[in-house]
């Protein structure tokens, strides 16, 4: 309506005034605000990195803002074997981890979603539940399990075979193992959806032709799952490229340096080498962009395969016969290794005043001293936990609000510029965490906004980091809401703001809650960005764990880990309860 250029003076003014005061154009204003916000949050960090990589001056220098660019940093980086060995390590580490994680995750997803294996649901829950344990704690517990000299497995090995240090977690395959195990729950989630979407009669038809379970799996199920599997593999690969915890804690002693750790050490050590860091960051970002492009191609083509299902579609499970006990035992063992072992190790160590491998002596020495020490020093434990809690809850809430507005514009309006919104909000997925952290740090060193050392800067970086994921959750539930619902409200003369709160939010509830929980848990456990931006006042729980690790305080660290675990479970349960009780009510 507002596009109409009305006739003479007074009525024109009136049109203009109503255009900016009625609901329909408030909507336009919000769109502009969102675009500006996204440019600030997404384009500026990208630009910051690119800019710095072409400058020899550092942020803060007077000449940093000059328009003379140089390839000196690239020449310097590409000229050193260190760059190429980091490139090689990044690729090799990612390939191997993806392969291992995919193999285990695919097996578990198949067993849980598509077979009649006993206890499959329990395995699924434990597997997904693992996500709330911070990655750094998993890495550390594996170090306690399999490192030379102190590792539990090596003590066991020595006792059983008399051979010293059979396992060395500080090695390429050690790193691959720990990181793969860390990624299995994600793999499972990625593939479970694909397995659920498959029409079971495709497999039953194979059975009816006389094919047994294994031939059906090899010739029918696996080829059909191929596009989804390809997409999962690429996402795992992208995730591994930017992974930080394992290379940070184990890469040093294993002599394996990847892009992420190179960037971290180059920016956190003095003197900081801005140019080289930015160059590595560019290499890393380009690598993820290429992979993402391939990923989206693959997803587009996969739809051709998925749509072939009949009307009478009921999910059914494959009867494995007696094999189902084998798969049950195997998947329980795996989930024990993935979720149980790290947690039990952490729990065990947290009660020890001095580290000892399990023995009578160790069990007799157990006490709560690590816990009491932690609680007596609030700056060490309680404040970081509070920081993480604030960041988790705050980031999740802001991200979900922003993202639901974006998803609304993109999917439910025809306003020009909405596609740009979608692209901007999603593109930050190509920014690896370590690059994101560096970009935010440098940007706020440059501009006179005093946020360095506060939770605000971490929250801002999290907003950029988690938008793409939350956007997927919310978008997919948004497209399922028919536009007739909104049109009906419009025809009834309801202004759009009311519409948004009364019609959309309640219907979107499941998608919003999923996004909120996902962001909350991930922001709580996040390490990379928080570490890049950490000062003494804004340490998060994960950062404190890293510092405790640096100081060699395993026992305190484990107690801290157990506390975080308990707190997170309480937080998730409480949020779930609150959202159920007081959340937006379903209006059916």
């Amino acid at each position: 309506m507002s596009e109409q250029t009305a006739g003479a003076g007074p009525s024109r003014l009136k049109t203009f005034v109503t255009a900016w005061t009625t609901g329909w154009d408030w909507r336009r204003l919000i769109l502009v605000a969102l675009v500006l916000m996204l440019v600030y949050q997404v384009v500026v960090p990208f630009g910051m990195i690119a800019w710095t990589s072409f400058k020899t001056a550092r942020p803060g220098d007077a000449s940093f803002l000059d328009l003379d660019f140089t390839l000196a940093n690239y020449v310097r980086a590409f000229g050193t074997p260190r760059f190429w060995s980091a490139t090689w390590s990044t690729l090799a580490f990612s390939t191997a981890s993806t392969f291992v994680a995919f193999t285990i995750g695919a097996f578990l997803a198949w067993v849980i979603e598509r077979t009649n294996t006993p206890l499959a649901r329990l395995v699924g829950i434990l597997l997904v539940g693992r996500i709330i344990i911070p990655g750094i704690l998993i890495t550390i517990s594996w170090i306690l399990i399999a490192s030379p000299n102190i590792g539990l497995l090596n003590h066991l090995g020595l006792w059983l075979t008399g051979v010293r240090n059979i396992f060395n977690v500080y090695s390429f395959w050690g790193m691959v193992w720990v990181h793969s195990i860390e990624m299995v729950p994600l793999t499972y989630l990625l593939l479970a959806a694909a397995f659920q979407a498959m029409d079971p009669s495709l497999e039953e038809a194979s059975t009816m032709t006389g094919a047994g379970v294994w031939r059906t799996l090899r010739r029918i199920s696996m080829p059909l799952a191929l596009p989804a599997a390809g997409a999962a593999v690429l996402l795992l690969f992208i995730t591994t490229i930017e992974t930080f915890e394992v290379p940070l804690l184990m890469g040093g002693r294993a002599g394996i340096r990847v892009y992420a750790t190179e960037i971290f050490f180059n920016t956190s050590r003095t003197p900081t080498d801005w140019g080289i860091s930015a160059t590595y960051a560019m290499a890393m970002t380009v690598m993820s962009i290429i992979l993402l492009v391939v990923y989206f191609r693959l997803i587009r083509h996969s739809e051709r395969y998925q749509t072939i299902t009949g009307k009478g579609y009921r999910p059914r499970r494959i009867d494995l016969g007696r094999w189902r006990y084998v798969t049950s035992a195997l998947s329980l063992l795996m989930v024990f290794i993935i979720t149980g072992v790290p947690f039990l190790m952490m729990l065990y160590v947290s009660f020890l005043p001095v580290y000892l491998p399990p023995s009578m002596r160790a069990f007799q020495s157990m006490s709560l001293v690590n816990y009491t020490a932690m609680l007596e020093d609030p700056a060490e434990a309680l404040i970081p936990m509070w920081n993480s809690t604030l960041l988790g809850l705050g980031t999740a809430t802001v991200v979900v609000l922003v993202v639901s507005a974006i998803a609304y514009f993109v999917h439910k309006t025809k306003i020009p510029g909405r596609k740009a919104l979608d692209f901007l909000a999603f593109s930050s997925i190509a920014l690896p965490s370590v690059v994101l952290g560096a970009a935010f740090l440098w940007f706020y060193l440059l501009v006179p906004i005093p946020v360095i050392g506060t939770l605000t800067i971490i929250g801002l970086a999290y907003l950029t980091k988690y938008m793409p994921f939350a956007l997927r959750f919310v978008s997919s539930s948004m497209v399922q809401i028919h536009s007739e619902l909104e049109e009906a409200a419009q025809v009834a003369g309801v202004p759009w703001r009311k519409n948004f709160f009364r019609i959309f939010l309640p219907l979107l509830k499941p998608g919003l809650l999923a996004a909120w929980f996902w962001v909350m848990v991930h922001a709580y456990r996040e390490l990379t960005v928080a570490l890049m931006l950490a000062r003494s006042q804004n340490r998060t729980a994960s950062v404190v764990i890293y510092y405790l690790w640096e100081n060699g305080s395993f026992m305190q660290l484990s107690a801290f880990g157990v506390l975080i675990f308990i707190l997170l479970i309480a937080l998730v349960t409480a949020s779930h309860f609150i959202s159920k009780r007081y959340g937006v009510k379903e209006q059916y």
Binding site: S201, E204, S206, M208, A211, R215, K311, G312, R316, D319
Partner: protein, 359 residues
């Protein structure tokens, strides 16, 4: 030959035990086509899936050929892939990553057949369903009807002991469905395969079967030849489910062999009870098919009413006639009166009015 004896399948839900199949027994003679017909949730598909081996029954026996494939009491359960059955699914279940040829040839894999023989058998099967010319097409590029033919070719290529059809035509559009059911019947006769066919479409069941089994709530309510089930249904459920019918309530007044006099709101009407199970005083229904009602007053039984509503449908006039409290639906001759409100008398012979006990 397939024999199903006292088949049971129950599920435990939180509050109760649901009997999806509750003691079903029937036999399919070699070369015959038996249809399981019933509304959704009657247990017909579950029964078929138990025969296929895709579902594990909780009681009873199933014999295919000379092999007992299920004997719950003795713990016998032959897995589906060892039963040598062919099955056609409702969703076609055509593998989208294979060509037409590969879809069919897959059914011969794992058997000791040379490549050349497998090729020959596959092409024969495709010729049977008239798809030989499409052998190298990617399967998803076929139309619904063609995909269904591929599914049939795949089911028959391995020369199975029996063919199982799970509502194979329900995803096709109406016209194609009628064509395909004729073709299915022709194919089944031509190959001479013992078959079980599941459908909820009564017209399909009538057209395609040697025998029809009507199921309701996990039990068999009636078993018979299509003509017999249509003309002389044994109970009101079957009469209403297969074809359409008019039910007139009444009480038995006199029994004379098969012929029964029934006291109704329209006076005494004479009907037929081939089973000879009704006695004087029983409450019964008289079931009369719409096409058996005539407006020429020639039959033994007569009901007077007013024409309520009529449409000209080409071959006949479809009319609703208000007779007291009841509305009679009838197919009248092309020349029948069509003006609403006109008095009309409907007549029918005693042999088309089936007497069914009320229960």
């Amino acid at each position: 030959m397939i024999r199903v004896e006292n088949l049971r399948k129950s599920f435990e839900t939180k509050s109760e035990t649901v009997h999806a199949i509750d003691g079903v027994s029937f036999e399919v003679a070699a070369g015959e086509m038996v249809t399981l017909l019933g509304p959704s949730g009657c247990g017909k598909t579950t029964t078929l899936r138990c025969v296929a081996g895709l579902e594990r029954p909780t009681g009873g026996r199933i014999v295919v050929g000379d092999q007992a494939v299920v004997n719950v009491e003795k713990g016998v359960f032959v897995p589906a892939h060892l039963r040598h059955l062919g099955m056609v699914f409702q969703s076609y279940a055509i593998w989208p990553h294979m060509t037409v040829f590969e879809n069919v040839a897959y059914a011969l894999e794992g058997r000791k057949i040379s490549k050349a023989d497998a090729r020959k058998l596959t092409m024969e099967a495709l010729e049977t369903v008239q798809l030989a010319g499409h052998a190298d097409r990617p399967a998803p590029r076929l139309s619904g009807g063609q995909q269904q033919r591929v599914a049939i070719a795949r089911a028959i290529v391995g020369k199975p002991q029996a063919l199982l059809f799970d509502e194979p035509l329900s995803n096709l559009d109406a016209k194609l469905r009628v064509e395909m059911r004729t073709e299915l019947r022709r194919l089944q006769k031509q190959i001479g395969l013992t078959s079980i066919y599941v459908t909820h479409d009564q017209a399909e069941a009538l057209a395609i079967s040697d025998w029809i089994i009507v199921m309701k709530d996990g039990k068999i309510v009636e078993y018979g030849r299509p003509t017999q089930i249509y003309r002389y249904p044994a109970n009101a459920f079957t009469a209403q489910f297969i074809g359409s019918t008019n039910l007139i309530p009444g009480a038995v007044r006199s029994v004379d062999g098969e012929h029964v006099g029934v006291d109704t709101a329209y006076g005494v009407l004479v009907g037929i009870d081939k089973t000879k199970r009704v006695r004087n005083g029983d409450k019964v229904w008289l079931s009369i098919r719409p096409e058996d009602l005539a407006s020429d007053a020639a039959g033994v039984n007569r009901i007077d009413g007013h024409l309520d509503f009529a449409i000209f449908a080409g071959a006949a006039v479809e009319a609703e006639v208000a007779c007291g409290d009841l509305k009679m639906f009838c197919l009248l001759g092309r020349d029948a009166p069509m003006t609403p409100g006109e008095p009309i008398s409907l007549s029918f012979g005693p042999d088309v009015a089936v007497v069914l006990p009320q229960d």
